[in-house]
């Protein structure tokens, strides 16, 4: 293998031992397959689904609610029914089975004087079917412990400075109930389509640690930096 010009590549650290828990997981799975409870392909399919989900359905739910007062009313009264309108059926979100974490979904509406933020202090409960996987920081003890005690300080660490007159409500997720935040629609988005609005409702806005901004889109093109030593083509 060719060496790089500046120093050798150092591999990221890995856990170099097989734990009893890793063995137990595989043993349980193999026995379940042998007993005919599901097939190896079923299992692969569910695992693949788990890797493919993202926050777009929740962003669409918020954008739709911003544009349609009737839908907003539904979202606030019945999050599960509103989810269905944006293509997520909490009873069957994968399209081929029930979710492992079917729960009630509640949509928390931010107002000029109330800001919501979501956490799971116990473990890592998260509205996966509609928001995808939780970010790594959401699962850290740092976030889970401190957001409930010092929410204003933690939000400011995310770059969200809130005026003193804004009350912060932290909702603790659990196995039976999940939450997502419906942030306020920002100024400067008048006349925007549902698609345009959904693009500014990023994952962090839906957790509550950020607010939407007309110029910050989750699918915005990344800046392209010019190569320091570009390849020269002579032909």
């Amino acid at each position: 293998m060719a060496k790089r010009d500046q120093g050798e590549h150092k591999a990221a650290p890995m856990v170099e031992e097989v734990s009893d828990f890793e063995i137990l997981e595989l043993a349980v799975r193999e026995l379940a397959i042998e007993k005919g409870l599901f097939t190896a392909d079923d299992h692969r399919h569910f695992t693949e689904f788990a890797h493919s989900i993202g926050p777009l359905p929740a962003a669409r739910l918020v954008a739709k609610a911003w544009l349609d007062p009737q839908f907003k009313k539904l979202a606030l009264e019945d999050g599960v029914a509103a989810s269905k309108e944006v293509g997520i059926d909490w009873l069957n979100p994968t399209g081929f089975g029930t979710p492992s974490d079917y729960t009630d979904l509640r949509v928390l509406e931010d107002t000029p004087t109330v800001k919501h933020v979501v956490v799971c202090t116990l473990c890592s409960c998260y509205p996966r079917p509609i928001l995808g996987h939780s970010p790594e920081w959401y699962r850290t003890p740092n976030y889970r412990r401190r957001i409930v005690r010092w929410p204003r300080q933690v939000l400011s660490e995310f770059g969200l400075q809130l005026p003193e007159n804004v009350e912060i409500r932290v909702e603790d997720s659990n196995q039976k109930c999940r939450f997502m935040v419906m942030p306020m629609r920002p100024e400067g988005t008048e006349g925007w389509s549902e698609e345009e609005l959904a693009a500014i409702v990023t994952r962090d806005c839906l957790i509550g640690v950020a607010v939407p901004h007309p110029e910050r889109k989750q699918n915005a093109a990344r800046p392209v930096h010019k190569a320091v030593h570009p390849v020269q083509h002579d032909h």
Partner: protein
């Protein structure tokens, strides 16, 4: 995130629920098994979840469909109970895994001896290279 090894009170705890009795093979893993947090600290790994977590989620989902061997809500209720009794003090997702194995044995979907034999086989296979 700490393991269970440091806390003798937890290690010696007997089940407090009459509905749940301890299962020897799972007790052994609960006491001796090294949790992900301990392994991360030793090897300098920062990934918050063990690599097998997504496979465990896949198993839970797959069990809830097809033959519906273990409906989701029933699994979660059992997990709640076991997390507060037998597996209290075990971190997540290790306790989720122990609770799932416990529930499957308790429901007779496979036996304790059968699981012990399979664990031995899988262990030999994974440690053979």
């Amino acid at each position: 995130m700490g393991g269970t090894q440091d806390n003798p009170d937890i290690n010696d705890a007997k089940n407090t629920s009459s509905e749940y009795t301890s299962i020897a093979i799972l007790e052994r893993i609960r006491k001796r098994g090294r949790v992900w947090g301990d392994l991360c600290a030793q090897y300098g790994v920062e990934n918050p979840d063990p690599p097998w977590k997504v496979c465990l989620e896949g198993t839970c989902e797959a069990l809830a469909v097809q033959a519906c061997a273990l409906p989701t809500l029933e699994r979660r209720w059992a997990e709640d109970e076991l997390s507060e009794t037998l597996y209290q003090g075990v971190p997540f997702p290790e306790r989720q895994l122990l609770a799932l194995a416990h529930t499957l044995i308790q429901r007779g979907l496979f036996g304790e001896d059968e699981l012990a034999r399979r664990i031995e086989k899988v262990g030999e296979r994974l440690n053979s290279v």
